[in-house]
Amino acid sequence: MIDKFRSDVLSVVDAVPSGASIAVGGFGSSGRPDALIDALCELDRRDLHVYVNNVGHDFTGVGRLLHEGRLRRVTASFPILQEFYDEYFAGRVELELIPQGTLAERMRAGGAGIPAFFTPSGAGTMLSDGSFTLRYSPEGGVAEHVPAKETRMINGREYVLEEGIVADFGFVKAHKADRKGNLRFRLSARNFNPMAGMSGRTTFAEIEQLVDVDELHPDDVHLPGVFVDDLVMSTGKAPATDEPAAAATRKAS
């Protein structure tokens, strides 16, 4: 019978080899799957290609992977972390910078069997014309550019062809899950998590609460268990309570 919950995060993440590509949920530290990322460090995985919106701050999240030299490439929209740029300009990590909406749509498309789509975002800019630096040379100067993207005029407007992202693994953080892998997120911690879960050929979700299999109403599931392979408990901060939204909701002035 289907029971996707595992007690040991290391034995789950052990399936990720060095060199793997991983789509990672989270926006800033909100909804970031730290337990799964930390397990990559514990297991000494290296040479990783991470699709993620932000690289984190200090040495948490993807920032820890960076700090420990575990990243080959980052595909991101907003990798604001000085140490990341230091590594990028030194030629020790590659940066494929893409618009945030393109990142979300590419993850979804890959998970949805759409190999490519046209988008107006980034048309006529350095992020589509082949002039953005993917990798600097350790000796200084540009080693490689992000290739120019195919463009097309449609109804008089220029669009860029972007590819769906099918990552080897998806790393997700969710608020609640049942043992079938059905996930529910909380407030703006949802963000990229459903997309990362769709994008991974194999997807792991770390969760704050494991609930009975009949607790999530079928209409309340944000990402169905069919996208999720293994569940582990999240670590760190105490699980958020259920109803701070009410407290956080007040009349706009």
Binding site: S30, N53, F78, M107, A123, S188, A189, R190, N191, M195
Partner: protein
């Protein structure tokens, strides 16, 4: 853009808050609006009580109530700047793909952004200063999808150089996307790909504006 424009005589226009206040007057009741960092974040302070303007954050929040007080801050509820926020009644949360479907699909009414440069034809540069750290976030999606892209910025940069220029020298965020520019000195509209000066700030003359603007434009001043 050039460093060699002779410094014009000093002029005092609107403050940063004044720019936000002026722009807020043009937001209509019922608008759904995304705000960039900088002066745009000052706009909500100046919305008249009789207008309901719904604020969107690209991390999936429709209906921001305001900044959260420390005691009510929830790490699962932040805006696009990662700051803790509150929600209004009737708020809705989406995932990032649907959030950008809203943006790219033209379902917002306006986006209000800061800028490094705006060109004579409405090109916008606001994401990257060459040689500095590159990051784009949702800026290119916002300008690509939103019907009204309003720039709120200082008229000139810290060195006194015009930020409204014939052609952007900074890397573009989008081509021909800006529809209005609100500065300390003036309000411009972009109509059919051409800049129009429609308003000077109180105490500012058309000549003051002309002297500090690096792009050709026509004057369509009321009265």
């Amino acid at each position: 853009m050039t460093d060699t424009i002779p410094a014009p005589a000093p002029v005092t226009g609107r403050t940063r808050e004044g720019i936000a206040e002026r722009l807020a007057q043009d937001l209509q009741d019922g608008y759904v609006v995304n705000l960039g960092v900088g002066i745009p974040l000052l706009v909500p302070r100046f919305l008249p009580a009789d207008k309901e303007v719904v604020l969107h954050a690209e991390n999936g929040v429709l209906g921001i109530g305001g900044d959260a007080d420390p005691h009510e801050a929830d790490p699962d509820l932040t805006d696009a700047g990662k700051q803790p926020i509150t929600l209004i009644p009737g708020a809705a949360i989406t995932d990032s793909a649907l959030s950008f479907a809203i943006i790219r699909g033209g379902h917002l009414d306006a986006t209000i952004l800061g800028a490094l440069q705006v060109s004579a034809s409405g090109d916008l540069a606001n994401w990257y200063v060459p040689g500095k750290n590159p990051a784009v976030g949702g800026a290119m999606d916002l300008v690509a999808g939103t019907p009204q892209v309003w720039v709120a910025m200082e008229h000139v940069d810290r060195k006194g150089r015009p930020k409204i220029v014939a052609e952007c020298t900074m890397p573009l965020t989008g081509k021909g996307v800006v529809t209005r520019v609100y500065t300390d000195l003036a309000v411009f509209h972009v109509v059919d790909g051409q800049l129009r000066l429609v308003e000077c700030a109180p105490g500012v003359t058309p000549e003051d504006v002309r002297a500090r603007t690096g792009a050709p434009y026509t004057e369509h001043l009321a009265g």
